[in-house]
């Protein structure tokens, strides 16, 4: 009680100072977070333009004496065996991620629509069953899937990866898209139905175009997930020419443990597609992620 009595008469000056205090705390904190986030990435870039010798210095060269793009040239040169491998891994990753993305959009769109609009018996059960999948780690499914893939003759094929990525990407895709459909007014479809459209036509002609942002976001999500996936690729693929980037890079650098500039250059190039994709389509991505959890 006594504290309120004391603070009230002190007036505006005191309060403004306190608000400024919070603002400065915020700024300092943001600067700290920026350092935490950016320093590792900057160090990756600086290391990637060093020579192997320059990277192995103590104390380190904060900026390389002789910056060189040799690591990038090596990785991107199809004549060189390293470059050949890297470009093949890159292509494999691109292929697997693209096919996974297309398939998961095709499968997730109708499912999410149904979960959002229809009230068939078992709807809630199925929806939560789908969501629960999200909870289980890859490792639980690894041994049986390993056997299943052998049974189906899919070992060492990209098919095995696409099939598994599809299932682990679906729950999230369905959840994201359902959030979008929930926010599209049903009245639009009703109007279309009254005008004589079938339910399917209403879905294709009215709902689909409106949910394009959601579909784009889901697609980016699937793509990034598939691009970055490691465990299944690590277990299902053994042949060198089949590997995707994360596994390929790991295999390669467990043999060349000291080529840190090469490793950093490879890490950088592996990150470029997803970061660019993300930066360009950021708006959709952030909105989709939060659509399901936050109600407007």
């Amino acid at each position: 009680m006594s504290t309120t009595a004391e603070t009230v008469p002190q007036g505006l000056g005191r309060r403004r100072m306190r608000v400024d205090g919070w603002r400065w705390t915020g700024r300092i904190f943001l600067a700290f977070m920026l350092l935490y986030t950016a320093v590792p990435m900057i160090w990756m870039l600086i290391t990637s333009i060093k020579s192997g010798f320059a990277a192995m210095q103590f104390p380190p060269q904060w900026w390389p004496d002789e910056p060189t793009l040799a690591s990038y040239e090596k990785l991107l040169d199809p004549q060189n065996s390293v470059g050949q491998d890297f470009l093949r891994f890159f292509w494999n990753s691109l292929f697997v991620s693209t096919v996974t993305t297309i398939l998961s959009v095709i499968v997730a769109v109708p499912a999410a629509y149904a979960f959002s609009r229809f009230s068939f018996p078992g709807r809630n059960f199925l929806f939560f069953a789908v969501l629960l999948r999200n909870m289980f780690p890859a490792v639980i499914f690894l041994v049986p899937l390993f056997i299943l893939m052998r049974l189906l003759g899919l070992m060492n094929t990209h098919g095995s990866l696409i099939l598994t990525y599809l299932t682990f990407g679906l729950p999230l895709a369905i959840w994201l898209l359902k959030g979008f459909y929930d926010n599209i007014p049903v009245q639009l479809e009703q109007a279309a139905r009254i005008d004589g459209a079938t339910r399917f036509q209403a879905f294709i002609l009215i709902v689909m175009p409106l949910s394009t942002p959601g579909i784009i976001a889901t697609a980016i999500y699937s793509f990034i997930g598939a691009w970055n996936e490691y465990i299944y690729a690590y277990t299902f693929l053994t042949k060198n020419d089949q590997l995707t980037l994360p596994v390929g890079i790991q295999r390669f650098f467990s043999e060349n443990t000291t080529d840190f500039p090469g490793l950093m250059a490879a890490s950088f190039m592996m990150s470029v597609p997803v970061v660019v994709l993300f930066l360009v389509l950021q708006r959709y991505f952030v909105r989709a992620l939060t659509e399901g959890a936050v109600k407007h």
Binding site: T47, I106, F141, L148, I231, M270, L279
Partner: protein, 340 residues
């Protein structure tokens, strides 16, 4: 009869509206329904909605093959002694022996403790950092969207790349952190972050948080936008301090988003594999093994499929418990959405 609001009601409305123009069709449908009096209750409902299932079917089918079957198979395998090399025809039934082996081993408890530290530490710190960043970014200022984009990047890049970047930063001879510490005179020589039993787990948690706080940040930023501005202004007029406004107005509004975010983070952390696997492989002397990496090593390293399966079942049970809360938090959200 209490009808659930939503599609059910809509269909009713549609029928009413169509009645005038397509009377014949409606009558026919009515007549057919009267001919099948047997279809009532749950089965009738399922039959009535049969077309709806077509939309969900592809998703369910894929999930069944790749999820239901593996779960069944894991449970079965956990009761068998299996020879290495996956010659699974030679397995022998041993009841609960695999479970006994796990629960009596000292390593199990060590790994469980690591998993707890890893999951709780990563989740809580990532959440607090993400939330604080979201709060600091809430106010409009120059360069805000650029800053936000930069802060999200770690979450987008591959965990494999992140592991290698940090492995290089932690490097015991040429690492940048070690060099800075020596340069500032805080250490005589670069510390051995990920090769020493006592520092390995915290070091890995720092990497994990680096990748995960952006997620919490995105969620909480979206949550902050839903806090009604009028309430905050009213609280300010009533003389509430910045902290009081946060604690009594902002925070209660974010309870749901926070629960969902924390649960999603906890599950993701409990299930993470790449960072410990690539950076240390569980070492040194199992100091950074968590459940997932340990199971992986048991199965694909030492080829003890039966024990690994039993481990997976235990993991499964733990996750089901967590999942119960997850579903409850999510449906709590749905309920709120239903009553505006």
């Amino acid at each position: 009869m209490m009808q659930p609001v939503g599609p059910e009601k809509i269909r009713f409305v549609q029928k009413k509206q169509r009645h005038a123009t397509v009377t014949i069709v409606t009558c026919k449908a009515e007549a057919r329904r009267r001919l099948q009096p047997g279809r009532s209750g749950v089965l009738g409902k399922i039959w009535k909605h049969r077309a709806d299932y077509a939309y969900v079917l592809p998703a369910i089918a894929v999930m069944l093959v790749v999820i239901a079957y593996p779960i069944y198979y894991t449970i079965e395998l956990s009761f068998f002694k299996t020879p290495p090399g996956l010659q699974l025809r030679d397995k022998t039934f041993i009841g609960f022996d695999n479970y006994a082996t796990i629960l009596t081993s000292e390593l199990f408890w060590r790994v469980t403790w690591n998993t707890l530290v890893w999951t709780l530490g990563s989740t809580l710190i990532a959440f607090v950092l993400g939330f604080a960043t979201a709060l600091a970014l809430h106010r409009e200022f120059v360069g805000r969207s650029l800053l936000r984009a930069i802060l999200i990047i770690p979450w987008v890049i591959s965990a494999v790349a992140a592991s290698y970047i940090w492995k290089w930063i932690y490097h015991s001879d040429f690492g940048i952190i070690g060099a800075v510490l020596v340069g500032l005179g805080l250490a005589d020589r670069p510390p051995n972050f990920i090769d020493s039993v006592s520092t390995v787990l915290p070091s890995l948690i720092v990497v994990n948080i680096w990748r995960e706080f952006p997620f919490a940040m995105i969620m909480m930023m979206a949550g902050l936008q839903t806090v009604p501005e009028q309430l905050l202004r009213a609280a300010r007029v009533d003389g509430a301090s910045a902290w009081q406004r946060f604690w009594h107005v902002t925070f209660p509004h974010l309870r749901n988003v926070s629960t969902v975010t924390i649960l999603l983070l906890a599950v993701a952390n409990f299930n993470s594999f790449i960072i410990p696997w690539i950076m240390t492989g569980g070492g040194p002397s199992n100091a950074s093994h968590i459940w997932i990496t340990h199971i992986y090593e048991l199965a694909f390293g030492r080829q003890r499929w039966g024990v690994a399966s039993a481990y997976s079942v235990l993991l499964f049970l733990t996750l089901m418990t967590l999942g119960y809360f997850y579903v409850r938090a999510l449906s709590g959200n749905e309920r709120q959405e239903g009553s505006p």
